[in-house]
Subunit: 160 residues, 2 copies
């Protein structure tokens, strides 16, 4: 059973976490949890929010050469009648402050991220120059175990 | 900060959900939530447990031609000091009942799955011929936000 379009829209707006898959130069997959916000029909994920190693993150290096990405939103529950997932296949690009393509949108994206994640009141959104992955949605697929799972997904909120 | 080896071992034994990335023939990534159990040093994920489409699942088709997989265990929490992830890169193969390579192990794997997931008391573990993905671990990487996250990960249990 698929998720209704309306539920999908709500999850893309409200669900707090996703798993992002990028591809390395060697073609191997790389998967990492991300936070994200939607703006202008794209998903935007900040790169600089939490303590990380100094060199450019693998996900950023990867999309510079291989833009194909897959993003999974899903909910695990010990009650398996509550399971659902939503997979977004798309193309990602790294967008930095100052890029011609980012003009105007980065402030709105930052606002969307701050509105979605109150955590950014105490966690720095960007260290230094803002850098984000912008994901253009090409295709979506979803699955849910049944009507109860769809109802839970339609609430679109993860409590913990 | 990485997770201690002991915590990693516990997560591989107890954490109930992971996200599995496989690669399609076209090289594009495919990501899906999975349940799994560890047996004989491998991760084993049953393919047939929940209602699915009739033709062979993408993850199975994929590993038949591209065995490279990535598996992510992670915890999202509104408290970002509690975040952690564990990524397992490996090689997967589809193992069916009756395969010479599966002799003896499939019953033990089924026991491990039933012990880990009480849900299999009411959900059928396999429909028809047992089919599993066996993932040989090649490399692991982990990250946690700090000592509190490590402590939570060491409990290795997801309540909901």
């Amino acid at each position: 059973m698929q998720l209704d379009r309306e539920i999908v829209e709500r999850l893309l707006e409200r669900w707090p976490v996703a798993r992002l898959v990028t591809l390395g130069r060697d073609g191997r997959p790389h998967v990492v949890p991300i936070v994200f916000a939607r703006h202008g029909g794209h998903l935007w994920s900040p790169v600089d929010a939490k303590p990380k190693a100094a060199r450019e993150l693998a996900r950023v290096r990867n999309v510079r050469t291989r833009p194909e990405v897959s993003v999974l939103l899903d909910h695990y529950d010990a009650d398996w009648t509550m399971l659902w997932w939503l997979r977004v296949d798309g193309r990602a690009s790294a967008v930095e402050a100052g890029d011609p393509t980012s003009q105007g949108s980065l402030e709105l994206v930052a606002s969307a991220l701050r509105a979605k994640y109150p955590q950014y009141a105490s966690v720095q959104l960007f260290r230094g120059k803002p850098l984000l992955l912008r994901i253009a949605i090409e295709q979506m697929r979803s699955w849910c175990a049944g009507p109860e799972a769809a109802r839970a997904a339609s609430e679109g909120v993860l409590e913990r």
